[in-house]
C-alpha cells in the first residue's frame, strides 16, 4: 500500500452540530408507542410485519395440508383454499417483505449507516408506521367479515375478482383494496423519508461512493417503490370503483349468474398492465435491499473488501432502471399482442446481466477470504445458492415459448418461492442475526441459530425443489385438488404429501428462532458495541443500543469507504469508516 501523507487533517473539525430540532420523548407513550425515533419505528414495523407474516405462514400450512392430503381435512373447502392462497401471497409479498426491508431495516439502518441523528421528517415517519398498522388491521379484519377474505388470487385479476362466485366478493375484496390503498399512502410517507435522508442527511465525508451497499440497495428500492406503488394505487382505486359504483374501467360486458351484468366495455388487460407495472418492480423492491444487505454480511464475515464495489453500485442502479421495462413477462398468456412478448423476453434476459455481475462479485468476495461461518454468514451463503437457483429458472420462464406451457404449473410456484420467498427470507434472517446485537446489546444464541439455519435451508430445498419436478409433470398451480387426472402419476401425490410434511416441520422449527429472539433479549451474551468487528458507522455508536439521536455530541466524520477489511499493514483486520487516516498510519508505524 502506498503511503500517502495526510498533513493537515488533524485540523478538520467534526461536523458542526446545529441545535437540531430533535424530538424528545416526554413520556412512556411517546418513547415507545407514538415514537418519532426511527429505531423505535423500525422495531414497530418489524414486529408488525413478523406478526402478520406468521399468519401467512399458518395459511401456507393449511394449503399444504390440503395439497398433501386431499380430502382428509374437512374444514378446508375449495373457497377457503383460494382465500388462503390470496392472503398468503399478498401478505408475504407486500405486508411482510416490503414492510420489513424498507420499513424495518430501512428505518433502523439508514440513519445509523449514513451518520444521521434520525430520519429527516420524524413525524411523517411515525405517521407512516401507524398508517401501515391500520392497513394491516384492515387486511386482517377480512378474516372476520361475512364471506371472509377475497379469494381472487394475490394478483386480484378482474373480472373474476369482483364477480359473484369468487369468495369474499362482498367485503373481502373491498377491504383488500382499501388496505392496499392505505399501505401505499403509508409507504409513501416512509419512502420520502428514506430517500431524502440518504440525499440530505449524510454526515461529513460520507460521499455516495462511500455508502455501504445496504444503503444503496434500500435507497434504490425505495425510489423504485415510490414510482411503482402508484400503479397499484391506480389499479386498486379503479377496481374499487368498478366494484362499488358499477363503473367499467376493467369490467367487460359479461353474463353473471345467468344475467347480463351491469358492466360493459372495460379492459381486464388494462388492470394486468397496471398491476404488473407495479408487480415486477416489486420483485426488485424486495431483492435490492437483500442484495445490499447480503453484500455487507459477506464482506464483514469473510473479512474482505467487497469485490467490485463500483460495479455493485452500478448494477443496483441498472437493475432498478431495467426492472421498469420487463413487467409484461408476467402476461405472456394474458392475450396481449403476442409480439410484445419478445420485447419483454429480451429485456428480461438483459436484466440477468447486472444480476449475474452481483452474484459473481459475491463469490469473488468470498474467494480466498477469511470466512467465518457464523450464523449471518451461513444465511448469506444460503441466499447466494438459492438466488442462483431461482434466478436460473427465471431465465427459463422469461422466454415466451418455455413460459406458455409452464405458466400455470407448480414450476412457477417453485421459481418465485425460491427467488422471491426463500432467498429474501434468508437475508432477513441473516440480517437479524447480524444486527440483533446492535438493536438489543445482546448476541443471539449461536447453537440455536445454526440449528435454525440448517433446518430452514435444507427444509426450503426439500419443499421447493420437488415442485419444479411437479411443474414439469404438469401439476397445475392454484388447484384445490387434482381430481382424476390421467397425466399426473401417483408418485406426484406422494411427493405432495412429502412436501407438506417438510413444510409443516420447517414452519414449526421457526419457533426455535422466535424462542431465541425472546430468550436472548434477557439472557443472551452481552455483545459490546461491535461484536463482528465491522467497519460501517452503525457499529461505531457511542452507546449500544444506540441512544436517542444515535451519536453523542458530535456526528461522526467519515474518512474511508465501508469495506476496509484486512488492509495490508493495518494493525487490525478492519478500519472503521470514521477512523482518520493519521491514526491508521500511527498504528501502522507502531506495528512496523
Amino acid at each position: 500500500m502506498v503511503d500517502i501523507p495526510y498533513e493537515g487533517i488533524e485540523g478538520i473539525p467534526p461536523a458542526e452540530v446545529p441545535d437540531v430540532e430533535l424530538y424528545h420523548p416526554r413520556s412512556w407513550w411517546t418513547r415507545y408507542v407514538f415514537s418519532q425515533d426511527a429505531k423505535v419505528i423500525a422495531v414497530q414495523y418489524s414486529l408488525t410485519a413478523t406478526a402478520i407474516g406468521l399468519v401467512a405462514l399458518v395459511l401456507s400450512w393449511l394449503m399444504r395440508l390440503q395439497l398433501g392430503f386431499p380430502g382428509t381435512f374437512s374444514f378446508i373447502d375449495a373457497n377457503q383454499y383460494l382465500q388462503f392462497i390470496t392472503m398468503h401471497g399478498m401478505i408475504m409479498v407486500i405486508y411482510l417483505l416490503t414492510a420489513l426491508f424498507l420499513g424495518g431495516f430501512g428505518n433502523y439502518l439508514i440513519p445509523l449507516m449514513v451518520g444521521a441523528r434520525d430520519m429527516v421528517f420524524p413525524y411523517v415517519n411515525m405517521l407512516s408506521y401507524w398508517v401501515y398498522l391500520l392497513a394491516v388491521l384492515v387486511l386482517a379484519s377480512t378474516f372476520f367479515v361475512p364471506g371472509g377474505p377475497t379469494g381472487a388470487g394475490w394478483t386480484l385479476y378482474p373480472p373474476q375478482a369482483i364477480l359473484s362466485g369468487t369468495p369474499g366478493q362482498d367485503w373481502g375484496i373491498v377491504l383488500m383494496m382499501s388496505s392496499l390503498i392505505l399501505f401505499i399512502i403509508g409507504f409513501t410517507m416512509g419512502g420520502l423519508n428514506y430517500v431524502v435522508t440518504v440525499l440530505q442527511a449524510r454526515t461529513r465525508g460520507m460521499t455516495l461512493m462511500r455508502l455501504p451497499l445496504t444503503v444503496w440497495g434500500i435507497f434504490t428500492a425505495t425510489v423504485m417503490a415510490l414510482l411503482a406503488f402508484p400503479a397499484l394505487f391506480v389499479a386498486s382505486v379503479m377496481l374499487l370503483l368498478d366494484r362499488l359504483l358499477g363503473t367499467s374501467f376493467f369490467m367487460p360486458s359479461l353474463v353473471e349468474m345467468g344475467q347480463l351484468s351491469k358492466y360493459g366495455g372495460g379492459s381486464p388487460l388494462l388492470f394486468q398492465h397496471l398491476f404488473w407495472f407495479f408487480g415486477h418492480p416489486e420483485v426488485y423492491i424486495v431483492a435490492l435491499p437483500a442484495f445490499g444487505i447480503v453484500s455487507d454480511l459477506i464482506s464483514t464475515h469473510a473479512r474482505k473488501n467487497i469485490f467490485g464495489y463500483r460495479m455493485m453500485v452500478w448494477a443496483i442502479v441498472a437493475i432498478g432502471a431495467l426492472s421498469f421495462i420487463v413487467w409484461a413477462h408476467h402476461m405472456y398468456v394474458s392475450g396481449m399482442f403476442p409480439q410484445f412478448g419478445y420485447f419483454f423476453a429480451t429485456t428480461t434476459l438483459i436484466i440477468a446481466i447486472p444480476t449475474a455481475i452481483k452474484v459473481y462479485n459475491w463469490v469473488l468476495t468470498l474467494w480466498r477470504g477469511d470466512i467465518h461461518l457464523r450464523v449471518p454468514m451461513l444465511f448469506a451463503l444460503g441466499f447466494i445458492i438459492t438466488f442462483v437457483n431461482g434466478g436460473l429458472t427465471g431465465l427459463f420462464l422469461g422466454n415466451v415459448v418455455v413460459d406458455v406451457p409452464l405458466s400455470d404449473t407448480m414450476f412457477v410456484v417453485a421459481h418465485f418461492h425460491m427467488v422471491m420467498g426463500v432467498a429474501p427470507i434468508m437475508v432477513v434472517l441473516g440480517a437479524i442475526y447480524h444486527w440483533y446485537p446492535k438493536v438489543t446489546g445482546r448476541m443471539l444464541n449461536d447453537t440455536l441459530g445454526k440449528f435454525h439455519f440448517w433446518v430452514t435451508f435444507l427444509g426450503a430445498y426439500l419443499i421447493f425443489f420437488p415442485m419444479h419436478y411437479l411443474g414439469l409433470l404438469g401439476v397445475p398451480r392454484r388447484y384445490f385438488e387434482l381430481g382424476d387426472t390421467s397425466f399426473i402419476p401417483s408418485s406426484a401425490y406422494s411427493l405432495n404429501a412429502f412436501i407438506s410434511v417438510v413444510a409443516l416441520t420447517v414452519g414449526f422449527s421457526q419457533i426455535v428462532f422466535l424462542f431465541n429472539l425472546a430468550w436472548s433479549l434477557f439472557k443472551g451474551e452481552a455483545s459490546g458495541g461491535n461484536p463482528w468487528r465491522a467497519t460501517t458507522l452503525e457499529w461505531q455508536t457511542p452507546e449500544t443500543p444506540p441512544g436517542h439521536g444515535n451519536w453523542g455530541k458530535e456526528l461522526p466524520v467519515v474518512y474511508r469507504w465501508a469495506y476496509d477489511y484486512s488492509v495490508p499493514g493495518a494493525a487490525e483486520d478492519f478500519i472503521p469508516q470514521n477512523q482518520p487516516p493519521r491514526a491508521t498510519q500511527l498504528v501502522q508505524g507502531a506495528a512496523s
Binding site: Q200, R202, M209, L227, P230, F249, S267, Y309, R560
Partner: protein, 234 residues
C-alpha cells in the same frame, strides 16, 4: 402505458444527470482521506423539506401519469362517449390560476420581508383554491343533473375520478397552506416562514400544471397526442 414510460424516461435522465455529478466513477478504496480532499461528495445544499417536496411531486406525477396511461388505453374501446365538458371548468381554471399567482406573490413578498403582503397572498391563494374546489363540486352536480352519471360511461367515470384525485391533492395542499398561514398569523418570523411559503407556491404551481394537463385530456385537445402515444406501443 407509453405515457408512464415516457415520464420515467424523463425521470431517468434527471436521475442520470444527478448521478453523473456524484463521482460514480471514483475508486473509493483508494480515496482514504477527509472531506475536502475529494470534490463533489457532500449532501445536497437544498433544505431537506424542499428535496422532500421534489420527491413527492415526482411520486404524485407518476400517479397522475399512470391515470393518464389508463385513460388513453381505455378510451380506445368503442363504448367511449366523450362527455361535454361543463363551461364552469373554464371559470374554475381561471380561479386556480389566480390562486397560483397569489401564492407566488406571497412568496415574492416573503423574500422582501413584507409580512402583510405575505398574509394577504396566502389568504387569497387559499380562498381561491377553496372556490376552485367548490366550483369543481358544482360542475359535478351539474353533470349529474344533466344525466352524466359516474357509471354510465367510462368517459364520465374518468372525468369524476381524475377531478376527484386532483381535488384531493389540492385539499392536502390546503392543510399545509392552512398551517403556514396560521403560523404567519400568529406572528412567526417571516425569514423562518419563507421556505414554507415557497413550498406552498411550488405545490400550487404543480397542481395548476396537473390541472391544465387533465383539462386538455378531458376536453379532448390532446386526443391527437394521446393517439400518437398509443400507436407507439401497437
Amino acid at each position: 402505458m407509453s405515457a408512464i414510460i415516457l415520464f420515467l424516461a424523463v425521470l431517468a435522465v434527471i436521475a442520470g444527470w444527478w448521478l453523473s455529478q456524484q463521482r460514480l466513477m471514483a475508486k473509493p478504496w483508494l480515496e482514504e482521506g477527509a472531506v475536502g480532499d475529494f470534490p463533489g461528495g457532500d449532501a445536497m445544499t437544498w433544505p431537506a423539506a424542499k428535496v422532500g417536496l421534489g420527491v413527492f411531486l415526482a411520486v404524485a406525477s407518476a400517479l397522475f401519469v399512470l391515470f393518464i396511461s389508463a385513460y388513453s388505453m381505455r378510451m380506445s374501446v368503442v363504448d367511449w362517449r366523450p362527455l361535454p365538458v361543463p363551461r364552469l371548468l373554464w371559470v374554475n381554471t381561471g380561479v386556480l390560476v389566480v390562486s397560483s399567482v397569489a401564492l407566488q406573490w406571497s412568496y415574492v413578498a416573503a423574500r422582501r420581508q413584507d409580512t402583510e403582503s405575505v398574509m394577504i397572498g396566502l389568504l387569497a391563494g387559499g380562498a381561491s383554491a377553496v372556490i376552485f374546489l367548490a366550483g369543481q363540486l358544482l360542475a359535478w352536480q351539474r353533470l349529474g343533473a344533466a344525466g352524466y352519471f359516474v357509471a354510465s360511461n367510462p368517459a364520465n367515470a374518468f372525468f369524476y375520478l381524475l377531478t376527484a384525485v386532483h381535488g384531493l391533492h389540492l385539499t392536502g395542499g390546503l392543510v399545509a397552506l392552512g398551517r403556514t398561514s396560521a403560523k404567519v398569523w400568529r406572528g412567526a418570523e417571516i425569514a423562518e416562514m419563507r421556505l414554507s411559503v415557497e413550498l406552498c407556491a411550488i405545490y400550487w404551481h404543480f397542481m395548476l400544471l396537473v390541472w391544465l394537463v387533465l383539462l386538455g385530456l378531458l376536453t379532448g385537445w390532446t386526443d391527437d397526442f394521446v393517439d400518437i402515444c398509443r400507436r407507439l406501443l401497437s
